[in-house]
């Protein structure tokens, strides 16, 4: 554990050098992988009657300026005591996907973006139910369902924002609609919560995520990523006069595709 912490601190230190060396007149745009933690996983226990604990880390890396391949993974422990049964559901999950920025970066230092994205998720988990009580005319039974190892796959549509609050530190949120693709069958009960998906009780599960992120500024460039063309009619008069990528822009940079350098001086 100590080694991991030392490694992370060393990496943070090394990756901070370009920022420390950054002078006031510097016009580099710094990019790099971003790693963060979903804070909403810590808020959930306070918002629900059942004990629902867990953590989730999220990471992305810029690709061609406006695309962000994303990896997320986490764990969840769910312990629910209802009036007629006790339910436990624990598991690990991961998601792979991509986010696409849908707004224009306004300057070299502007890293705030709004995104839409997709995810593919996979979860391995187990569920166990005890003290199931049922009563009718003939009497009462109390029974248990033993631990059952299960898995689930799903897709997600994501909409969200990330903004740079402090240099290299980001705050962001996302709303997610989740679409289960396959869940291991259980003759006695369909899991009403799945790690990575959340509650599956009725309709399309929705979820939200609020996170803080640190960006390792290991790439730099002098160009602002071009907005992704979404098609449609061109509007006259929008010549992007302030866009350094625009050939008509008065700056010294050459336009065209993004030109990243390694983060050294």
């Amino acid at each position: 554990m100590t080694r991991i912490l030392v490694s992370i601190l060393t990496l943070l230190l090394i990756s901070s050098f370009p920022v420390l060396a950054q002078t006031k007149g510097d016009t580099w745009r710094y990019e790099g992988p971003r790693i963060g933690m979903d804070l909403s996983r810590f808020l959930l226990p306070t918002m629900q009657s059942a004990k629902r604990n867990g953590w989730e880390i999220q990471a992305d890396i810029p690709y061609k300026g406006n695309l962000f391949p994303t990896f997320e993974m986490g764990m969840q422990w769910f312990d629910d005591k209802q009036s007629t049964f006790d339910y436990k559901n624990n598991g690990t999950y991961a998601r792979l996907g991509i986010d696409m920025n849908i707004v224009k970066f306004e300057s070299l230092k502007d890293h705030d973006f709004v995104f839409v994205g997709v995810r593919y998720g996979y979860s391995v988990f187990n569920q166990q139910t005890d003290n199931i009580g049922t009563t009718n005319y003939w009497g009462t039974i109390t029974t248990s369902l033993p631990r059952h190892d299960m898995s689930a796959q799903w897709g997600e549509l994501v909409f969200g924002m990330k903004g740079e609050l402090l240099p290299n530190f980001f705050f962001g949120w996302s709303l997610r609609a989740k679409f289960p693709i396959a869940v291991t069958k259980d003759i006695n009960m369909h899991p009403y919560i799945i790690p990575g998906i959340g509650k599956t009780g009725g309709g399309t599960p929705f979820d939200f995520s609020v996170g803080v992120y640190y960006r390792f500024p290991i790439f730099r460039s002098k160009t602002i990523p071009k907005p992704i063309k979404m098609g449609g009619a061109k509007h006259p008069g929008l010549n992007n006069e302030n866009d350094p990528n625009n050939p008509d822009y008065g700056g010294s940079q050459s336009g065209g595709s993004q030109n990243y350098n390694r983060g050294g001086r």
């Binding site: 705030d112 139910t129 009960m189």
Partner: protein, 162 residues
């Protein structure tokens, strides 16, 4: 944009804190819908149904004195045994019916809990009953919603005995 983000974030958190009130809106009782009739279009005048060996006060499942060609009743099945026995007193004559079944416990929903689900596999009965027809062997919490001409089992009594 940053302030905008924070405001929307708070709204998202509030939205996420909404829930459905932890209520159960589904049927939780598993009852076998049973129709009773007498061959030869003879009226069923009185019906009293009890569980077998259940003779205490309050153990009567059905006590119906209205007159009709066919009657329908929801009846509970045993939770612990693989068969359930009923004593059916129709027009003053008692008969016994045993139904064989398999039961599994199944989750209805998070807030409704579990309910037994049965599959009927056969029957055994005394001479006053002509036949028992299992029309839907699956007995679950949704069975109670069956419409007039739909039932789990139909019991036909001998006209000569009644």
């Amino acid at each position: 944009m940053r302030y905008y983000q924070i405001v929307i974030s708070l709204l998202v958190i509030l939205l996420g804190s909404c829930n459905d009130g932890n209520r159960c809106y589904d049927s939780v009782d598993t009852l076998m819908v049973t129709s009773i009739s007498i061959n030869g279009f003879k009226n069923v005048n009185t019906v009293i149904i009890k569980g077998i060996n259940r003779n205490d006060v309050g153990d009567t499942l059905v006590n119906d004195a209205s007159s009709s060609l066919t009657k329908r009743y929801p009846l509970p099945l045993s939770l612990t045994a693989d068969s359930t026995g009923f004593v059916l007193n129709v027009n003053g004559i008692s008969d016994t019916l045993y139904l064989r079944h398999k039961m599994i416990i199944k989750l209805i929903s998070e807030f409704c809990g579990f309910a037994p689900n049965y599959v009927l596999s056969g029957s055994r009965f005394t001479a006053g009953i002509d036949s028992v027809k299992i029309t839907d062997s699956k007995v679950n919490p949704q069975s109670i919603a069956k419409t007039t001409n739909d039932q789990n089992i139909s019991i036909y009594f001998n006209a000569s005995a009644h």
